[in-house]
C-alpha cells in the first residue's frame, strides 16, 4: 500500500563529513511586547546537508514558523548563529538579507503568493529581475518546463488550477538555483490529487537535482514523504529522526480519517437520526 523511496544516489543522507547547507547553533528568538516577553525559540541547533529532504513538524505555537522565517532570512534570531552555505547570516543587514533571500533561498508558500494578472513566465522571472541577471526568459522557461508547465507560459493565475499555480511557485523558487527550497505547508491549500502532483515534483527535484528541501508542516502524511523529520515543541527540538522508508508520492494512498483514527473509539454514537449520517 505504501511506496518506498530510496535515498538519493543510494547514499545515506546524514553523513557528517559533508558540508552543511544550513547550520544553526543555539538559536533563540524572543518577542518583546511591552511588559511581556515571549520566548518562541529556546535554543535550537541543527544541520541540514546538501540534498536532504527535511520536514519540520510541530503543533501550533511550537515555533516552527518562526524557525522557518529565520531559516529563510526573513527574520533575525535574538541570539545564536546561522551559517547558510558557510556564511554567517545572523548578523547581516536588511539589504544583505535581501540578497541572501534572492540568491540562496527559494520560497514556496501555502497560498502560492503569485502576483495577480501576471503571466506564469513573468512570475518566474521575478527573482531573476531582482538578481539583475541576463537570459531571464530562457531560464524561467526552463524552470517552468522542469515543473511540467512548459505549455502554460503565458497563463494567468486565474487560468490555472491550484496545483498548477503551486507548480508555478515552485518554478519561481527553483529558477535562481538556490541552496535550499523552503516550503511552508506547500500542499495545505490543495486537494489530494493536486497535493500528490506537487509532492511528486518536490521528490523528483530532490532526487534528480539534489535540491535541498525543507518542509514546514503539521501533516504527518506529508512528513512521511520526506527523508528526515525534525519535531519541535515549545521552541525546542524534541526529536530529529531519519525516515526509514519514505513514501513515494502517488504510489501510496492517503488513509481516510476513519482509518487514521481507528482504534481510538470506544463506542459508536449518533447524535441524531441514524439516516442523516449515511
Amino acid at each position: 500500500m505504501f511506496g518506498r523511496l530510496q535515498p538519493p544516489n543510494g547514499k545515506k543522507p546524514s553523513q557528517s563529513t559533508e558540508a552543511a547547507v544550513i547550520d544553526i547553533r543555539n538559536i533563540t528568538k524572543t518577542y518583546f511586547m511591552g511588559e511581556v516577553t515571549l520566548q518562541v525559540l529556546r535554543g535550537i541547533s541543527l544541520k541540514i546537508k546538501r540534498g536532504e529532504f527535511v520536514s519540520i513538524m510541530g503543533p501550533s505555537g511550537s515555533g516552527k514558523s518562526t524557525l522557518m522565517n529565520i531559516l529563510g532570512a526573513l527574520d533575525q534570531p535574538t541570539s545564536g548563529e546561522y551559517f547558510l552555505d558557510g556564511v554567517d547570516v545572523s548578523q547581516m543587514s536588511e539589504s544583505e538579507l535581501a540578497r541572501v533571500r534572492n540568491r540562496k533561498i527559494g520560497f514556496v508558500f501555502q497560498n502560492f503568493n503569485l502576483l495577480r494578472r501576471t503571466e506564469a513566465l513573468r512570475q518566474v522571472e521575478l527573482p531573476l529581475i531582482y538578481a539583475g541577471v541576463p537570459n531571464r526568459a530562457k531560464r524561467a522557461r526552463a524552470a517552468l518546463e522542469a515543473v511540467g508547465l512548459g505549455q502554460r507560459l503565458d497563463h494567468l493565475p486565474s487560468e490555472l488550477s491550484g496545483g498548477q499555480q503551486q507548480r508555478v511557485a515552485i518554478a519561481r523558487a527553483l529558477v535562481t538555483e538556490p541552496s535550499v527550497i523552503l516550503a511552508d505547508e506547500p500542499t495545505g491549500n490543495l486537494d489530494s490529487r493536486s497535493g500528490t502532483e506537487v509532492m511528486q515534483i518536490f521528490q523528483r527535484l530532490n532526487r534528480e537535482k539534489q535540491i535541498t528541501t525543507v518542509f514546514v508542516t503539521h501533516d504527518p502524511w506529508i512528513a512521511r514523504h520526506t527523508n528526515r523529520v525534525i519535531m519541535l515543541r515549545d521552541g525546542k527540538v524534541v526529536a530529529d529522526q531519519r525516515v526509514k522508508q519514505p513514501l513515494i508520492a502517488g504510489e501510496a494512498e492517503r488513509p481516510s480519517e476513519a482509518e487514521e483514527l481507528q482504534g481510538i473509539f470506544e463506542a459508536t454514537y449518533y447524535g441524531g437520526k441514524k439516516e442523516e449520517y449515511t
Binding site: 526573513l74 534572492n102 531582482y130 519561481r172
Partner: protein, 410 residues
C-alpha cells in the same frame, strides 16, 4: 535591478487597476489643464492688447496736463498751442515728425431729433493721420477749416448711432447743434473701439473752433489752451529720447526746477501697454494660483491612492521582498508608479488645456491662443514633481515594510 524592469513593473501595476489609475490621474489632468488653459489665455490677451496698440501708432507720445506728484507745487499751468508748436521743431525734439493737438470739452449735441451729451474734441487737421484713425465716410477737417475756425464736425460712430439710431446712417451734409451753435457734418470716423472706454463716442471739430467758438481758451501768452499734444517721432527707438526732450522743454517753459513738480505727463503707448500687461500678468498669476490648488488636490489624491495601494498590496510587497527585492527596489517601484500617474495626468492635462484654449478662441475670435513651449515644460516638470512629492511617503512606507509581517498580512 535595471530601470526598464522598474518601469515595466510600474506599468503592469497601473494597468491592473485601470479605472483607479484613470480616476487618480483625473485630478492632475484638471489641475494641469486649468493652469495651461489660463496661462495660454493670459498670453493671448497680452498679445491681443500689444497688437491693438501697435496698430494705434506705437511711436506717438501723448502730452497732457497733470497734477504734480510733489505737494510742493499746486498750480497747473495749462499746455498751449505755442508749446505744441515749439515741440514740433526738430531743434527741440530731434526725432520729431509731426505734432497734433486736441482741445477737449463736454457738450450737448442735438441732431436728427435726438440730443446727446458727448466729448467734443477740437483737433488739428493732422489728428487723424497722427492717431492712425481714418474717416470712414466724407472728409476729415482740412487745414483751411482749421485756420478759419469753420463750423464743421466729424462724428464718431457712437454719436451717429445716438442721433440717427443707426450706425450705418450717412449724416454728411446734416446740420447739428453743438452747445446751441449750428455745425455741418462733413464726415464720420471709422470704428476705433477702445481698451477701457470707447473712443467712438466723440465729435471732432476744428481745433480753433473749439478754442474760440465753443469755449474761450485764450491764454496770457497769446496762444490757446490745448488738452493733449500728440508728438509723432520717427521710430519707436526714438521714444525714450523724445520723452526726455519734451520733459526738459516743458519743465523750462513752466518754470519747474525740481523733479516731481512737473504739471504735465508724457506717456507713450508702450507705457500704457506696460501697465495693462502688468495688470493682466497679476491677474494671470492669481488665476494660476487658484488653478494650482486643484493641482495640489490632485497630488493629495495621488498620495491617498498610493497609500491605499500600499496597504492593499502589502502581501505583494512581502512576496517581492522574500524573492529578494531590496528596499530601494520597492521604493523605486512605487515612486515610479506615482510619477507615471502624475506625469500622464500632466500630459493629458496639457491636451485638455489646449482644447480649452481652442474653445476660448471660438468664443473670442480676436484672440490667437497658442500653446507655449515653456508652459508645456512647466506643466510636465510640475506634474513630475507632484508625483515625486506626493508619492515619496507611500513609497517609503512600502519600502520599510518588514517582509514577514507583510507576508502574514491578510
Amino acid at each position: 535591478m535595471d530601470f526598464t524592469e522598474t518601469l515595466r513593473i510600474a506599468v503592469d501595476s497601473l494597468l491592473i487597476n485601470r479605472l483607479r489609475s484613470a480616476l487618480t490621474t483625473l485630478g492632475i489632468i484638471i489641475g494641469v489643464g486649468a493652469v495651461i488653459g489660463l496661462v495660454s489665455l493670459g498670453r493671448a490677451v497680452e498679445d491681443f492688447i500689444a497688437r491693438e496698440f501697435e496698430s494705434l501708432g506705437a511711436n506717438v507720445l501723448e502730452v497732457r496736463s497733470a497734477r504734480p506728484s510733489s505737494p510742493t507745487r499746486i498750480r497747473i499751468q495749462p499746455l498751449t498751442t505755442l508749446e505744441a508748436a515749439a515741440l514740433a521743431k526738430p531743434s527741440i525734439i530731434s526725432a520729431v515728425r509731426q505734432v497734433a493737438n486736441s482741445y477737449s470739452l463736454f457738450g450737448q449735441v442735438a441732431g436728427g431729433g435726438e440730443r446727446t451729451s458727448v466729448q467734443i474734441n477740437g483737433v488739428s487737421s493732422n489728428y487723424a493721420l497722427v492717431r492712425a484713425w481714418p474717416v470712414e465716410k466724407g472728409d476729415f477737417i482740412s487745414p483751411e477749416q482749421e485756420e478759419s475756425a469753420a463750423r464743421v464736425a466729424v462724428l464718431g460712430l457712437d454719436v451717429v448711432e445716438a442721433l440717427y439710431a443707426d450706425r450705418r446712417f450717412d449724416p454728411i451734409g446734416q446740420t447739428i447743434r453743438i452747445n446751441q451753435r449750428t455745425f455741418t457734418v462733413i464726415g464720420v470716423m471709422s470704428q476705433r473701439g477702445g481698451t477701457f472706454i470707447s473712443e467712438d463716442n466723440v465729435v471732432l471739430v476744428p481745433l480753433k473752433t473749439a478754442q474760440t467758438r465753443l469755449d474761450n481758451a485764450r491764454t496770457a501768452d497769446g496762444g490757446y489752451r490745448v488738452t493733449t499734444i500728440y508728438v509723432e517721432v520717427s521710430s519707436e527707438e526714438a521714444i525714450q529720447q523724445a520723452t526726455t526732450d519734451i520733459t526738459a522743454y516743458l519743465s523750462e517753459a513752466h518754470g519747474i526746477v525740481f523733479d516731481g513738480e512737473q504739471d504735465f505727463s508724457v506717456t507713450s503707448p508702450s507705457d500704457i501697454l506696460g501697465i495693462i500687461n502688468q495688470v493682466s500678468s497679476v491677474l494671470t498669476v492669481f488665476l494660476v494660483l487658484i488653478a494650482s490648488i486643484s493641482l495640489l488636490v490632485g497630488g493629495i489624491g495621488i498620495m491617498n491612492i498610493m497609500l491605499v495601494s500600499v496597504t492593499e498590496r502589502t502581501r505583494e510587497i512581502g512576496l517581492r521582498k522574500a524573492l529578494g527585492a531590496q528596499a530601494r527596489d520597492i521604493l523605486a517601484q512605487f515612486l515610479v508608479e506615482s510619477v507615471m500617474l502624475s506625469l500622464l495626468g500632466g500630459l493629458l492635462g496639457i491636451g485638455v488645456g489646449w482644447l480649452a484654449a481652442q474653445f476660448g478662441m471660438l468664443l473670442v475670435p480676436d484672440l490667437t491662443i497658442t500653446l507655449s513651449l515653456d508652459a508645456v515644460i512647466l506643466a510636465t516638470t510640475i506634474s513630475t514633481m507632484v508625483g515625486v512629492f506626493f508619492g515619496y511617503y507611500p513609497a517609503q512606507r512600502a519600502a520599510r515594510l518588514r517582509p514577514i509581517e507583510a507576508l502574514r498580512f491578510e
